[in-house]
Symmetry: C2
Subunit: 406 residues, 2 copies
């Protein structure tokens, strides 16, 4: 008998018929003799409906009230699933953030989980009940409702699994696992049976949408085995777990891409201490996250500085940077929104020489110019012209033989 | 400076525009220098939408889960109003049942309030905040969410006002006060400036819809002055308060009617001890509430027994009663669904002789036959044929001069 945590996303919870399908997944585990804790998102679209109401009520909704408002979405799905399970003869009890309780740090709209008291969950499990917990929410020390921000329900699920020392955590979503790359772009994409936490983390950060980086970090920290599965089929699935020998044998596990990229270059900057600090402090003040930064070698005490940001931030960033650029004596600011980032990811890279050159060669063969490069221990990212995104993904997928491995 | 509790019903909360109107009513009291605590219902229609979801999920939804589901309706309105008030420069904080906390007795779907801890409310008021409390909900000792059943938000409002020893409680609704009778039937109906708790209670029980009897009982018990007002106009209003000399000077304050009545007669019953007990225990077992009961004087040791119930219960009651009737040797069971109850209510009745005969005479003049009569200290009710309802209301309104008083 195992203790299993199952998490279902918004698409899986959209409507009574889909919640009845969720109930079947729960019952399957109960029939296998396991204890089951379920974490749910709100019905797809419901959180957006509530957010729209908040912004109809005020231009800048009070964050605590906003959180208490949008947290009702999960309250609806957990109670409905519990109603369904009870009516099917499987006793269930829903729990909201304050009922567990899941204690948060009090930062409205993007709270972090501080601790989870598992006593009441265990009490209900001992009675043979399925416990259905609202994802995305917790309460702070003053009993204010906080939400966890993007990817919050994944984070709730992994945190509850960690606190309960669950045997594993199933993340049910609308795809049947983690792929070597986006099957929508590359038909040769292959589902991975296993992937390491670090690779999953880099993939999530580099643009893969399947799991939120926060939940992967948490899974890694507490060593929770996470299965990514589809709500709509029993086939497939990918296990996210710690590295093993098998994984290390592979050089590259996946290719990701991110089109939400814009490149800004500050041209002909006097190469003096403090210049970069001034530029990036100005961006940080506007809450703009900078991804890659490249500074060319200095020629005659002048240099060029390039960085990438999310496209939605281009307008604000341009205004800020133009002011700073003129202050520091740069000659001009160039903005390129027609860029994308492609990345290769794999724990095997660490011990394998020549991975980078293989990547650059593959791209060069197709005439794809590399505008920026950044590397980590298990990832190499290149910024390229966005019109080459699909081509780059396909040639890299082939260059590292991702369609062939098993 | 006073402490004011304001309660707004579902029609007043239906949509952002109406909630902004509610905010104006709150701000008016704040500008007058008062502390304000607001109690809200869910948006009109929202509770029904959630109830439908529950019954779509299961034929007999688990009551605790059902309560946690439908309580989200009030969570949405209180957070939205708080967002609106904060954005208008009036700091506000919403509170749900568990946040106050409002402690209930654990009876799902029809809980009673056991106690209200006012510390946190007072704390927020001291900071100058408007406190916006979700009506209709509380939590039991295990932190399960309970709802208070029909009229729950009125009850929440009066209970909070009592616990806070508020100076008064405004109940905002879609009518501008309590009338001598239904203005929809009788154009001469006059708004009462004042009415006693007992009269209001009898009116509510006798069919007037404006306040739920539970909230009036509570207001009487804790002597909370309650103003019934309209959300949509600043005019009018009725004060519900304890009796005073002025009220006692009036014989009759109002005429009510209730069309949700059915009369059942068990004919030719042997007049033996225990017969009535058997009949009414059988109905109680089916949760059927009996309103009036009349037993005729016995002739030759046989009697007829009549009683009224709600029309929705007729089918179940008929089945139950037919079985019992044959057991106890009654000759037949007659069911009449074409009946209605008209009542006159007034604290002045106690000291005034001839009130009943004036009522019967007025009805008789119009040829309206009285089928059943029941009286309390401050109320006389008659069951009549339902087709005479409007006529009876009008002649009684005139007979007691209700259109003329002030």
């Amino acid at each position: 008998m195992a203790l299993v945590v199952q998490k279902f996303g918004g698409t899986s919870c959209a409507g009574i018929a889909r919640l009845k399908n969720v109930a079947q997944k729960v019952i399957k585990e109960k029939k296998a003799g396991h204890d089951v804790v379920v974490i749910l998102s709100a019905m797809a679209g419901e959180t957006d409906r509530l957010i729209n109401l908040a912004y109809e009520a005020a231009e800048n909704p009070d964050p605590l009230e906003y959180d208490a408002l949008i947290s009702t979405g999960e309250q609806v799905t957990v109670t409905l699933l519990s109603i369904i399970l009870n009516s099917m003869g499987y006793p269930a009890r829903s729990m909201l953030g304050f009922q567990v309780p899941i204690l948060t740090d009090g930062v409205a709209t993007k709270a972090r989980i501080m601790s989870i008291n598992v006593d009441r969950i265990k009490q209900e499990l001992k009675k043979g009940k399925v416990v259905v917990i609202a994802g995305f929410q917790g309460v702070d020390r003053e009993n204010n409702i906080n939400t966890l921000g993007r990817g919050g329900s994944d984070t709730s699920a992994v945190a509850v699994a960690a606190a309960l020392q669950a045997d594993w955590c199933d993340i049910y979503t609308d795809v049947d696992g983690v792929y070597t790359t986006d099957p929508g772009i590359c038909p040769q994409a292959r589902r991975l049976k296993k992937i390491s936490y670090d690779e999953m983390l880099e993939m999530a950060r580099a643009g893969a949408k399947v799991l939120h980086p926060r939940s992967v970090e948490l899974a890694k920290k507490y060593n929770v085995p996470v299965y990514v599965k589809s709500s709509f089929t029993d086939e497939g699935g990918t296990l996210v777990t710690k590295e093993d020998e098998e994984m290390e044998g592979e050089v590259v596990s996946g290719v990701t891409y991110d089109r939400d990229q814009a490149k800004i270059t500050v041209v002909h900057v006097p190469d003096k201490p403090g210049i970069a600090a001034r530029l990036f402090s100005a961006l940080a003040d506007k809450n703009i996250v900078v991804d890659m930064i490249i500074q060319n070698a200095s020629i005659d005490n002048y240099t060029d500085l390039s960085f990438t940001i999310s496209r939605k931030d281009v307008k604000v960033a341009a205004e800020v940077i133009k002011v700073v650029a003129s202050d520091i004596g740069a000659s001009s600011v160039q903005i390129d929104e027609n860029v994308a980032k492609v990345s290769i990811i794999g724990v095997g890279m660490i011990s394998q020489p020549g991975v980078a050159s293989r990547m650059f060669t593959a791209l060069a063969k197709e005439g794809i110019n590399i505008m920026m490069i950044s590397t980590s221990e298990i990832k190499i990212s290149c910024v390229i012209q966005s019109k080459y995104t699909e081509l780059a993904v396909m040639v890299l997928h082939e260059a590292f033989g991702l369609d062939k491995k098993n």
